[in-house]
């Protein structure tokens, strides 16, 4: 009887010990997770390149993934070629019309370029905000979910890519470089809802008015448009005006195409106006990107 009672109390103690042990383990795990996430986010947002271990792992996986992406790209291309074929006739007609003015435009362009160079030589101006270098890269893959919007490209530090460089798609700005490894890099798209994302300085030049400067603030899912805020004014800005980067920040050069104005609206507070910009380049159909390096003052 005594023996039985003794066993029972001992058994009860074990149970108590187990449950408190589980709570402690759960708390320790939670702390580890919180530390892991916060530290890696801090490191990612740090301007320097990522840590050596992460960099090597990313590069290795990227190499494997690159092999996998070749057949996938082939399938993608064949899908695209069918849709291209369907639109060819119509496109041909439109292009023919444009071609007439192309020759004269090209000669005019050459003259202007030459004149520009001569004038720059006179001013002893070697590089302006528009001067840039371009690095073309293939897109290996994209993060599989819909939230982070990160592309992985096959060029890295070795090819001269640095953090915060703007990235262009087929016809306009699509994002910026956030992480650089040795032979691969990560690009965050403009559609990302990451609150630390870069705010590109942009400008809008309406016909016959002064340029308007602003800051790209976010991406609106409902309008599928970029939202430009903190504008100097919205005088004369109307639908269809071109939006370019202004080069006023430290990382992006002047004159990269962003998109066209889709509408002008007062903000929810009603004090300011904000401009919705529909992006020039598709933010889904991306297989090749151009990373742009600003030549003037990029080190600041």
């Amino acid at each position: 009887m005594l023996d039985y009672l003794g066993t029972r109390t001992w058994g009860g103690n074990v149970k108590k010990f187990n449950s408190s042990k589980k709570i402690i383990i759960a708390i320790v795990l939670a702390i580890i997770i919180i530390l892991l996430v916060s530290l890696s986010v801090m490191q990612r947002d740090n301007e320097d390149s990522s840590g050596p271990v992460q960099s090597v792992i990313s590069d290795l996986v990227a190499t494997v993934d690159q092999g996998l992406s070749y057949p996938v790209r082939a399938i993608e291309r064949s899908i695209q070629s069918v849709s291209n074929l369907l639109g060819t006739y119509e496109e041909n007609g439109q292009l023919k019309k444009r071609l007439d003015s192309y020759a004269s435009m090209q000669s005019e362009n050459e003259i202007l370029q030459k004149e520009n160079k001569e004038l720059r030589d006179q001013l002893e101006l070697q590089a302006t905000l528009t001067t840039n270098e371009k690095i073309v890269a293939n897109v290996i893959t994209r993060s599989p979910d819909d939230w982070q919007d990160i592309l992985i490209i096959d060029r890295g530090q070795r090819d001269g890519i640095e953090v915060n460089m703007p990235v262009m798609g087929s016809s306009g700005l699509i994002g910026r470089v956030i992480v650089v490894n040795d032979t691969s890099a990560k690009v965050e798209l403009l559609t990302s809802t990451n609150q630390n994302s870069n705010h590109f300085p942009v400008m809008i030049t309406p016909d016959g008015e002064e340029s308007v400067f602003g800051l790209m603030a976010s991406y609106s899912e409902e309008e599928s448009a970029l939202v430009v805020k903190q504008l100097t004014s919205v005088k004369g800005v109307k639908k269809g005006d071109k939006v370019l980067t202004s080069g006023l920040g430290t990382s992006s050069p002047k004159g990269l195409m962003v998109g066209t104005v889709s509408k002008v609206e007062p903000t929810s507070f009603g004090l300011e106006q904000e401009v919705y910009v529909s992006p020039a380049s598709s933010l889904y159909d991306i297989s090749v990107v151009t990373v742009v390096k600003r030549v003037v003052g990029s080190g600041e």
Binding site: E76, R142, D145, Q148, Y284
Partner: protein, 173 residues
């Protein structure tokens, strides 16, 4: 038979890693086709982990899933701790469920719905909690979780025969 199982034990993490990379490639083609409206995300990686957990010990599979989660987070996000948490969590749930339920095709199909919901849902909530993304629960359920579940159930039904053959060999049948 035993030897084959030992070889597979080493190969499984590599196969699941390849499945992980294929998953995002497949998802990206489908994203192109839907024009970024709906997100059909294939989960061959999860399927591999579920099949693995029918054969191997809990400790082995949990450690494998933690390492895979770390690789996933490093490669795609550079933020550690999203899939590093959600993958082992799902694997633990797989063991919990199949302790009570016999793994047959219908039970596997139904539990796959739960596993995908837990895996994607926990990854989503971790990102919302740490303020890495702007949360939109309705958007997440309607544009991502729903299509993903539909697609993976279809894949599972298409692959039902090989999955049945494999699961019959496990210790748990």
């Amino acid at each position: 038979m035993q030897k084959k199982r030992e070889v597979m034990k080493v190969l499984l993490p590599l196969l699941v890693l390849l499945a992980m990379l294929m998953d995002s490639q497949i998802s990206n083609i489908l994203r192109l086709l839907t024009g970024g409206e709906l997100f059909f995300i294939s989960h061959f990686m999860l399927l591999g982990l579920i099949m693995g957990s029918l054969f191997y010990s809990k400790t082995y599979m949990v450690i494998t899933s933690i390492i895979l989660g770390l690789l996933f987070d490093t490669y795609y996000y550079s933020i550690l701790g999203i899939n590093t948490v959600s993958l082992p969590l799902t694997v633990l749930l797989v063991y919990l469920v199949f302790d009570y339920i016999e793994p047959t095709i219908p039970t596997l199909l139904l539990s796959l719905v739960i596993f995908i919901t837990i895996m994607d849902g926990s990854a989503y909530f971790i990102q919302v909690i740490f303020n890495l993304i702007e949360g939109n629960l309705l958007g997440f359920v309607s544009t991502q979780l729903g299509p993903t579940l539909l697609m993976n159930m279809t894949i599972f039904i298409l692959l039902a025969y090989p999955i049945k053959k494999i699961s019959e060999k496990s210790n748990r049948g």
